[in-house]
């Protein structure tokens, strides 16, 4: 099971962060009209901080999967888990980048 965990952990973490930040954007917008113009304001910063934390988490998972201590033995699981970890990081940056650029509640 630990091999499966190594393969799945990064993309699964992306999915959790992606869903959570989407939910967070909904909460921010539900908070009221003040949040509607969310650029440089508190609500925007909340989203940006969440985005940065998600990226940090992915970087940490990538380092773990790559490390000798927690990474898999040489072979299929090592290769696949490393590709998955890179996928998780790229997906986090690519899909959550809109928190830096898009209007939050319009």
């Amino acid at each position: 099971m630990s091999d499966l965990l190594r393969i799945l952990v990064s993309p699964a973490a992306w999915l959790a962060c992606f869903s959570a930040i989407y939910g967070l954007s909904g909460i921010v917008c539900a908070a009221g009209p003040g949040a509607a113009v969310a650029d440089g304001s508190g609500p925007r910063m909340v989203l940006v901080i969440a985005f940065l934390l998600a990226v940090l988490l992915q970087v940490g998972l990538l380092a773990l999967v790559w490390s000798a201590r927690f990474g898999a033995e040489p072979g299929l699981v090592r290769v696949v888990s490393r590709i998955s970890a890179v996928t998780g990081l790229v997906a986090t940056v690519w899909t959550l980048f809109p928190v830096l650029a898009a209007s939050a509640c319009l």
Binding site: L15, S25, G75, T87
Partner: protein, 827 residues
């Protein structure tokens, strides 16, 4: 022992009953796989006829072929049948039939569950078919959006058939997913490490995990909508705190992964068949595995791209637009791996290869239009037009039907032991390919010209007449092609021309079994040292038939196999399967009575049916295990393994763990729905919160703690040779106390029809109550087994399973209490 004597002994142990009566009691994976496939293709035929009716209707303007009411039933049932009664069951059937053979074992992990899943599918599908025959079929579109499907706008029984029938059928998918996951991880040939697994098994492992996490949101949505329709709980009624968008979220949380659940097994077929057709091995095996994993998980982050026109803020649109474009990358990795494989090898244009080429062309076009609709402004233009209908057919027909036809032609000689005689398949392929593209290229075009989906007619001045006529002609050409495939398969089965063994020169293990395969698959189980064992040792099949592998002595008429370590594939446990029984059929029938009682509003029957399921479930599990210690069992090659009933990780533990993954997803979806309504739906927060009950707040945690501690103590007492009865009784008391606490919570909850808040609390309370009663039933079962002598210090497997459920119950109890009372405290 000679090979023939071994064959006779094994056949006596494994064969199903004689004649057609044997179908009702068989639990053998080859039988059940065939039954799944035949039933699924029957529904393909029905769905195809409905498609022809749609094309007949749209062929001319102002068509009087079918009225709008009937037409709504036709297109709803076409989509429903193709998605739920054809595509998924066809995948299940193919995997049920093939996986044990590919993995080098004798059956799937839970043979009776395989049969139960089939009968649930059979009865659930029959319910929908009956509704179609009586003209009361679902008519709200295959995704059943409320408020159209709420009881105000759809007061008849039509929608109920969909909600209840599909939920019944989905039991089958969940059963199969648990079955596949455990089988792929634990039931493989000795030595078959993860790196040596056939690529199809990797795909099915990924797909099974997707089903376990993708189907529960729809099951929950169906339960909530049926509760609204039957009892007035307003989950989707905006005036009472509900929100119809909640349905769209729950549906597409299932619906988008569903597309990949259908595509990925087909991609597994392509990855298996293509290298054989090209006389080489798959290029980038590890990248393909990684791409399948990435595609599976990314597909769960796309669901809102079906909702781009619902008024979601820009940031949300951008999230899902970005995710939708990203998913093209792992898809492309697979496509390039397949192209590279063809480049590396020498492709032979046999019939399976033709269908794979058809898949390439069609699926790549579907993928490109998928990227187009991932771009929000374009999606706004074509949303709910025929362009989207054409896109999804390119993806699903191209990504599923062509590969499945390739797979059928590829594995048909294995299943029948015969070779093709009449060469109708090439003509059929040409008709299918040309017919498909004429139909759906035209549909793209007419969609861009503004024709909406699901319209029953149009006017001549719309300018769509010629294109629709071309599309309809193409549709009938496609249908002729598929009929010829059917005719060829029937001819193949009735014309006895024996095929030689391994006719394609494949390297995977399914071709090492005799053709057609006997009920036991392998006379002895192989030791695997590479990914293509048959390529390394072409005589492997003969050596296994001689009994040179594991478990080759067919002892005592038992159905034996091995469980292995997940990573290395080294043998771990000796497993004895249950024999043929009608229990799965009876259990599915009683489950069907439960669903029918809900459909027909015969609520007095519902608890009786539930009690029947509980009694049969008790009997189901009682038949397992042993009342004497078995010790280590010799399995061949000087190896002796512990019996599965004498370990801490028996098959039931693994099944429970993965079933709880699906269960937890359902519960998580419920919490998501609660949070969604709270933050998005109008009319929240409710006028008054539920009053905290001190009794519930004390009894529930105390009951959960007692149950968890009791079962843990029972396991420990048994391990040291003590009597676990007192600890089990304490755990049972805890579970019953918890059930009482949930009953009290329900009694004090706001009325469930007044506001979505009360309705949600009611569902949360019922979820907790059902699970507390389930754990109580399991603990009572353990007590009975212990008293009957089935539990000992060695025979500890059953004691190992219940703590998994008890622990889960404790966690959901904490979450339910938090969800119910924290908002009130906070306010």
């Amino acid at each position: 022992m000679t090979a023939l004597a071994r064959h006779r002994r094994l056949s006596a142990a494994w064969a199903s009953g004689p004649g057609w009566k044997g179908w009702f009691s068989t639990v053998n994976h080859s039988d059940v796989g065939r039954m799944f496939l035949v039933t699924a293709f029957f529904y393909f035929l029905v769905g195809g006829i409905l498609a022809m009716l749609i094309r007949a209707q749209l062929a001319t303007p102002h068509s009087a072929f079918a009225g709008p009411g009937i037409y709504s039933q036709i297109f709803t049932m076409h989509g429903t049948i193709m998605m739920f009664l054809f595509a998924i069951p066809a995948i299940e059937g193919m995997a049920i039939y093939l996986l044990p053979k590919m993995l080098g074992t004798r059956d799937l992990a839970y043979p009776r569950l395989t049969a139960y899943g089939y009968w649930c599918y059979f009865f659930g599908g029959a319910m929908l078919l009956v509704s179609l025959l009586f003209g009361i079929a679902p008519d709200g579109g295959w995704f059943m959006y409320p408020p159209l499907t709420g009881r105000i706008h759809s007061p008849g029984i039509n929608t109920d058939f969909w909600l209840i029938g599909i939920t019944f059928v989905e039991i089958s998918a969940i059963c199969a997913a648990v079955e596949f996951t455990v089988s792929i991880l634990k039931y493989r040939a000795p030595g078959m490490s993860l790196a040596r697994m056939p690529i199809f098994a990797w795909y099915m492992l990924v797909v099974s995990l997707m089903i376990l996490t993708g189907f529960p949101p729809l099951i929950l949505g169906s339960i909530l909508l049926e509760l609204e329709r039957a009892f007035g709980m307003p989950f989707f009624q905006v005036e009472l705190g509900g929100d119809s968008l909640l349905w769209q979220h729950l549906f597409w949380l299932f619906g988008h992964p569903e597309v990949y659940i259908i595509f990925l097994p087909a991609a597994g077929v392509v990855s298996t068949v293509l290298p054989v057709m090209a006389s080489t091995t798959l290029i980038g095996y590890r990248w393909v595995v990684a791409a399948a994993v990435a595609l599976a998980i990314l597909s769960f982050g796309l669901w809102v791209h079906h909702m781009f026109t619902t008024g979601i803020p820009h940031m949300g649109l951008a999230f899902f637009s970005a995710a939708s474009t990203l998913v093209a990358v792992p898809t492309a990795v697979q496509v390039f791996a397949w192209i590279g494989t063809m480049w590396k090898g020498t492709p032979r244009l046999h019939l399976p290869m033709l269908h794979i080429l058809g898949f390439f062309v069609t699926f790549v076009i579907g993928g490109l239009t998928g990227v187009m609709v991932a771009v929000v402004p374009f999606d706004w233009q074509v949303h709910d037009t025929a362009f989207v209908t054409a896109h999804l057919h390119y993806v699903l027909f191209g990504g599923f039907v062509f590969p499945i036809l390739a797979g059928i032609y590829y594995w048909l000689p294995l299943a029948s032991g015969r070779r093709r005689f009449f060469r109708l398949g090439n003509v059929a392929f040409a008709l299918i390919f040309i017919g498909f593209h004429v139909t759906f290229l035209a549909m793209h075009w007419v969609g861009l010209m503004g024709q909406r989906r699901r319209i029953s007619t149009y006017a001549p001045e719309d300018g769509w007449t010629a294109i629709n006529l071309i599309s309809s002609v193409g549709g009938f050409v496609l249908a002729f092609g598929l009929v010829i495939v059917l005719i060829e398969i029937v001819l193949h089965l009735v014309v006895p021309r024996r095929s030689r063994r391994n006719p394609w020169g494949a390297g995977t293990l399914e071709w090492a079994v005799p053709m057609p395969p006997p009920a036991y698959n392998f006379a002895s189980l192989p030791r695997v040292t590479s990914r293509e064992p048959l390529a390394d040792d072409p005589d492997l099949g003969v050596r296994l038939a001689r009994g040179e592998g594991y478990l080759g002595d067919a002892r005592g008429g038992l159905r034996e196999t091995l469980m292995v370590d997940i990573a290395t594939g080294e043998p771990e446990q000796h497993v004895v399967y249950p024999a043929n029984t009608r229990l799965p059929l009876v259990m599915a029938a009683v489950t069907g009575v439960f669903f029918l009682s809900l459909l027909l509003k015969l609520y007095w029957l519902t608890p009786l049916a539930l009690a029947g399921v509980a009694v049969l479930g008790w009997r189901w599990v009682w038949q397992l295990g042993s009342d004497t210690d078995l010790g280590c069992q010799p399995v061949g090659h000087g190896l002796a393994l512990a019996s599965a009933s004498e370990t801490d990780r028996p098959p039931g533990w693994w099944g429970s763990a993965f079933l709880l993954v699906a269960n937890a997803t359902l519960f998580g979806s419920l919490l998501f729905g609660y949070a969604f309504l709270w933050t998005v739906a109008p009319g929240w927060p409710p006028a008054a919160f539920m009053e905290p009950s001190l009794l519930v707040l004390v009894a529930a945690p105390a009951g959960a703690a007692l149950a968890v501690a009791g079962i843990a103590l029972a396991v420990r007492r048994n391990r040291i040779g003590g009597d676990p009865t007192a600890a089990l009784l304490a755990a049972l008391a805890g579970a019953l106390c918890l059930a009482g606490a949930f009953a009290l919570l329900l009694a004090g909850a706001p009325h469930p029809t007044g506001h979505a808040y009360g309705a949600t609390l009611w569902v949360l309370g019922c979820y907790g109550l059902v699970h507390a009663l389930l754990v109580a039933l399991m603990l009572a079962f353990l007590l009975a087994r212990q008293r009957a002598g089935y539990v000992s210090r060695s025979r500890r497997a059953e004691l190992a399973i219940v703590p998994v459920w008890t622990g889960y119950l404790a966690v959901v109890t904490a979450l339910i209490l938090a969800a119910v009372y924290l908002p009130g405290f906070a306010a």
